[in-house]
């Protein structure tokens, strides 16, 4: 079922990152076909919390990407319907003891030097920001630039906002890449036929490594499993995105064993979301009572009030993990015509707009808005 050259670019993956790539490419005048073997936001996007964070990022390339994304998210929040639940609520990172608080202050100092707004909150002011916080914490840092979005709705509305420049092909799996005899990329083969375009963007998230292999290149994306615990609907009991200082160390770690640190936020719909666990367990969706127990314990230690309400359900997802904790963004030097936009681990919702913006620039031959060398997919 050849469709002719109706598309300038094929984006594989209808998650947040794929949607952002499609949106900005369409905005640059390109005709885009988005293909996903499942549904919109059916993978990691639908299993996230919608973190738009600068607070957890070390100064460096990922922070620069996050800062650009934060600006783009502000723009998008004006362009997209309010139903995407964009909330510029700010983040509050808290430390249980004085050494932890000192480490937070040091981290914040270095982030401030990189342009992040970060305000130290002494212990006696923590409850002004979060009245339900446990007593006895040593202090914290407030990051007003942190925000939150409902990732599945944001993805859907981003795809819709580009109008008929984006064609969606859902429930269709890419099974191979098409190349001309001279090696030029021509498109993809799917379970339903062929789709032609001179460029293909790999936005397959945690499955980006498999997709890369179809093109004969190696991209070491691995799934890093996480669980989220969901409470019954509540009024606003948690105002910010609140997390414990240990979260940054967990994110930066490469350990395969289960790690948990409390990450807590309310949602406009009412339920409080409780994360975050990280472990390498392949694509195994088996419920882990140990992970859930630790999430609940971490959350109630930080917010004792959560011990008085019910947890209703849990969900799990797979962060697309790359070994150096940086995403792969840009053209693959080993496979002309193929671009990657995957491997954002747990930061993909936040980093999606900047990623899409960069990909659109790459596709149209424009200057990237920042140095994309550190994200070079050929670095592995």
């Amino acid at each position: 079922m050849p469709t002719g050259k109706l598309s300038d670019v094929i984006v594989i993956g209808a998650g947040m990152v794929g949607a952002a790539c499609a949106y900005y490419a369409a905005g640059a005048g390109l005709r885009v076909t988005v293909i996903d073997r499942g549904s919109v936001a059916g993978g990691t996007t639908g299993a996230g919390e919608g973190n738009l964070l600068v607070s957890d990022k070390e100064p460096g390339p990922e922070l620069e990407l996050a800062r650009l994304s934060a600006r783009l998210w502000t723009e998008l929040s004006g362009a997209l319907p309010a139903r995407i639940e964009y909330e510029p609520k700010g983040g509050l990172i808290v430390a249980a003891d004085e050494p932890g608080a000192a480490a937070l202050r040091d981290f914040a100092d270095r982030q401030r030097a990189a342009g992040v707004t970060a305000e130290e909150i002494p212990a006696d002011r923590l409850h002004d920001l979060e009245p339900h916080l446990a007593p006895g914490l040593a202090g914290g840092v407030h990051y007003p630039q942190d925000a939150q979005v409902m990732p599945a709705l944001a993805t859907a509305h981003l795809l819709r906002a580009a109008g008929n420049r984006i064609r969606l092909r859902l429930g269709e799996e890419v099974t191979g890449l098409l190349t001309a005899p001279d090696g030029t990329l021509r498109g993809v083969r799917t379970t339903r036929g062929e789709v032609h375009a001179p460029y293909v963007v790999n936005a397959a998230g945690a499955w980006g490594g498999e997709l890369a292999r179809l093109a004969g290149v190696e991209l070491p994306v691995r799934p890093r499993r996480g669980f989220v615990l969901v409470t019954e609907p509540l009024p606003r009991v948690v105002r910010h995105k609140v997390y414990a200082a240990g979260y940054m160390a967990d994110v930066a770690s490469g350990s395969a064993t289960l790690q948990t640190s409390a990450v807590i936020e309310g949602t406009p719909a009412g339920p409080v979301l409780i994360g975050a666990s990280r472990e390498h367990a392949g694509f195994d969706r088996t419920l882990s009572p140990q992970a859930l127990q630790r999430l609940a314990a971490g959350a109630t230690a930080l917010f004792p009030v959560l011990g008085t309400v019910r947890a209703m359900r849990t969900y799990t997802g797979f962060r697309p993990y790359l070994p150096d904790h940086l995403p792969a963004i840009g053209p693959d030097p080993r496979a002309p015509g193929l671009l990657h936009a995957c491997g954002h681990e747990g930061a993909g919702i936040g980093l999606a707009p900047a990623t899409g913006f960069v990909i659109a620039r790459c596709l149209t031959g424009g200057e990237p808005p920042l140095d994309i060398g550190p994200f070079d997919p050929g670095r592995f």
Binding site: H132, E232, L234, G270
Partner: protein
Amino acid sequence: MARTPAELVGAQPDPPFEITFDGRRITAVPGQSVAAALWAAGILSWRTTRTGGRPRGAFCGIGQCFDCLVTINGDPNRRACLVAARPGDAVTTQEGHGHDRLGV
């Protein structure tokens, strides 16, 4: 002549007792669910929805739909169709999620 479920099964319950709904006295019999006692008293709604404030009561009656949530003795989100009434229970209309006092 109207026949009640209790008559149909030949039930011989122990003596009835009182509970209250928003302060109003209602009669219940041992083993009767809160929802059944409220219905028997002609009360069909005992909760308002979170966003629209619309009235809700028993729908499925078998613990599956969670429409019949109500506050019992100050504890919100009890399924009225599953909770057996006990003497002196204070059942109160639940506004929305029932946790307003936790809001900050």
